[in-house]
Symmetry: C2
Subunit: 163 residues, 2 copies
């Protein structure tokens, strides 16, 4: 998806496979570019800001959500991080094993699990978050302030259209 072929080349190739019938190339380009950009940025973040701590993007996002909203229940944490509860269990095992977060069973409702940050975790995030934001500035460097707002807004519109 990040290959050397242009949009026009791809469009021509698709038409030779299907004819031109019923394919919306504008929607296709918009959506596929979302995936391309996400992949590309994610790889960049993991190679730069996250590599020193051997963190994946997902692990960082979970850490970030805990940092912002602690104490937070597991179900909300999964929703906020955009991953399934099953995935979160594995990620929390990793993060708890490294001593950055803590799991505690809730007093009132023994089914729930509260996740909090350790001192070590807070120290890590205070360094890591500005480093990530620096990289966010890098990948958005060729956008004006208005374009950044426009991009964020267009993506919110897309998200609101996902059933």
């Amino acid at each position: 998806m990040t290959g050397p072929h242009t949009v026009a080349e791809t469009e021509r190739a698709v038409k030779s496979r299907l004819g031109a019938l019923h394919i919306d190339f504008d929607s296709m380009a918009a959506v596929s570019n979302i995936f391309r950009a996400a992949n590309s940025i994610r790889n960049h973040f993991e190679r730069t800001a996250l590599a020193p701590q051997n963190l994946t993007w997902t692990a960082f996002v979970v850490l970030w959500v805990v940092w912002i909203w602690e104490p937070i229940e597991t179900r909300d944490l999964a929703l906020e991080a955009g991953i399934s509860k099953a995935t979160l269990t594995g990620v929390l095992n990793t993060l708890e094993g490294r001593g950055w977060v803590l799991r505690e069973r809730a007093e009132q409702d023994r089914r729930l699990m509260n996740v909090t940050m350790t001192t070590s975790g807070r120290r890590l995030m205070r360094k890591l978050f500005p480093a990530l934001n620096t990289q966010e500035r890098v990948v958005a460097a060729n956008l004006s302030s208005a374009e950044k707002k426009s991009l964020a807004s267009l993506l919110r519109t897309v998200m609101s259209s996902v059933p």
Copy 2:
């Protein structure tokens, strides 16, 4: 990341953790929305158009690239699909096991591997690609034609800024 908190709430929470120093919230919102949207759309596609064939998004992308550009060498296929060669090996095992693609060692250079489509694979794509495009139209339904082009263009700018 797809949680109930608004941008303003998140911004306020971040500031309470760090102070306002040196954080570019416009870049943060733009980039984080790329990830949110990609996650959301990917899950939607896997639950709708791809579920009947038990295909993941990545497997579909690989299949799509082969369909468009066959015969294609493994190294180019990985680049085009936006995944590592190591990942591609696993995905190709899956796709070849289901009889949709074929791996053949190149005649001239015995290190290379050429990937081609089977008849069964072509039949699958002729059905699957329009189904995917239907879903792409759904998630882009609230964007005008100009907005779709603008979104694609802004994302291309972002990608060109990734080192």
